[in-house]
Symmetry: C2
């Protein structure tokens, strides 16, 4: 699916003039190793491969929360920038919500600002979170049962689980799914998932989904991402999803891998969203 | 529950100076009989009983959609108005979304604008739709099982079903419920509701919920409202909910009636939201 999105992005970029006028994505972060740095490396690499301009905006510790807000405000005003992404989650006293609130909806290409999230309910066009669109693209690519089907979302974050649940309930051409949202306070996860044909999981809890809780023959799209100690790796750790692949082998109909799976598609989606924002902001036609 | 909300509203109003400086709710509508007129009568009556100022702003047909937008913009700027409600749904070419988009979040006391809906996902404080808060108040007043329980919402409108589902998933002090959203395209409603302890229904489909689809012993909060022909009434019609009371009698644990039930609490909630908006906009303390 990343390939299909990348083709669309390249196609749209052919219309871009050379030099500084093409689409530009700015990624605002603290320059630290951590959960965001993996995503950041993916953005940099994809932008280079596709020919999008990519700006890293590093917030120094001395700049702090007010510096972050000011930087995002400046990027909103900067006509040469078409998409802005802000590292999240951010530890206090950084206020992610205040920072992203500086951004007009069109430039919020990760679809995590209040305006874009609200549009998921009102049906007005906007950017949906790239990771949610990527999870849906994975499900559709592998023809997993979601259209008109009972599906579950495990996880209720405001930037992943909840917007994904809203997208899944959407009317045609949306999936029209009957959606169950489960989470850490769900007393009986197996029962909550018992009727689901496809399960999207974004809890960030390694090995949460085993054959004990996943119904036999159900499909799992794994959006979870957590670090597990692994002495065999040079880094001493490896990234894992929410699903336990050993337990689900020969039990689930399908399981998207972590790493791989939804991750690379999210980056491709983000690049496409940036090109789409550039088209909107510069008055170009959006291709059908 | 309406009584408890009204007490809180009266308590807050004691701090209001006499005359034009107290809280004021403006209700913008087309002055026609229809689904909104019942709600409008309730607003007028409640405002009079509680001592809130209430302004009706009637949009003439000649003013049309642009007149509606201009009127809401003027009310947003009017410092003597603290809450604004716009008739909805509105038939085309009226653009409800464009009208409500003129309003700052604090004055959107029915919680149906994009900013307030988006805040349901980001967790920033804002107004949630009055009807959703009312349905939760009804469930809590009658101690229906929602806290940490499997519950269902039947209906996926952006102003009722979806925001209610988001509120139900909220962490403590929210209900922490495991929520299933079902709708007109749910292929097997009985199966979708089979694990639910409490069912909130807002489909606007009379007699949708019978003992065929509601599990025995489940509770039903009825937010549906539709008009049914009734030759025995002077008006020739009566208002009914989504639930079939005859079918659910002796089967459901509890059923909130329509009319009555959630309706009057919605009006009380709207009045409270207006007082709360007045407190915020005039820099008064919000009581705990």
């Amino acid at each position: 699916m990343a390939e299909a999105l990348d083709r669309a992005t390249r196609e749209a970029l052919r219309a871009a003039p050379d030099g500084t006028a093409g689409p530009c994505l700015a990624s605002v972060h603290r320059g630290l190793e951590g959960p965001f740095s993996r995503y950041l490396r993916g953005q940099r690499k994809a932008a280079e491969a596709l020919g999008l301009r990519f700006r890293e905006e590093v917030i120094d510790p001395e700049e702090g929360p007010s510096g972050l807000v000011a930087r995002v405000r400046a990027l909103d005003q900067d006509g040469s920038v078409h998409g802005v992404l802000v590292e999240h989650p951010l530890p206090p006293p950084y206020d992610f919500s205040a920072a992203i609130g500086q951004l007009r909806a069109e430039k919020d290409v990760d679809g995590v600002g209040t305006e874009n999230l609200g549009r998921l309910l009102t049906g007005r066009p906007g950017h949906a979170p790239a990771v949610c669109l990527a999870a849906l693209a994975v499900a559709r690519h592998y023809m997993l049962p979601i259209e008109g089907q009972p599906v579950a979302v495990v996880g209720r974050s405001g930037t992943v689980g909840l917007p994904l649940a809203l997208l899944l309930t959407r009317r045609t051409p949306g999936p029209n799914a009957t959606v169950t949202v489960a989470h850490s306070k769900t007393p009986d996860l197996a029962r909550a998932l018992s009727t689901s044909k496809t399960i999207f999981t974004c809890a960030g809890s390694p090995h949460l989904l085993t054959r004990t809780v996943v119904p036999e023959g159900a499909s799992v799209v794994d959006i979870g991402l957590a670090s597990m100690p692994d002495p065999s790796r040079p880094s001493g750790a490896r990234m894992v999803g929410d699903a336990d692949p050993d337990s689900l082998e020969g039990w689930a109909r399908a399981l998207s891998p972590v790493p791989g799976g939804v991750g690379p598609v999210t980056v491709a989606q983000l690049m496409w969203n940036t090109v789409s924002a550039w088209q909107t902001l510069t008055g170009r036609e959006t291709p059908p």
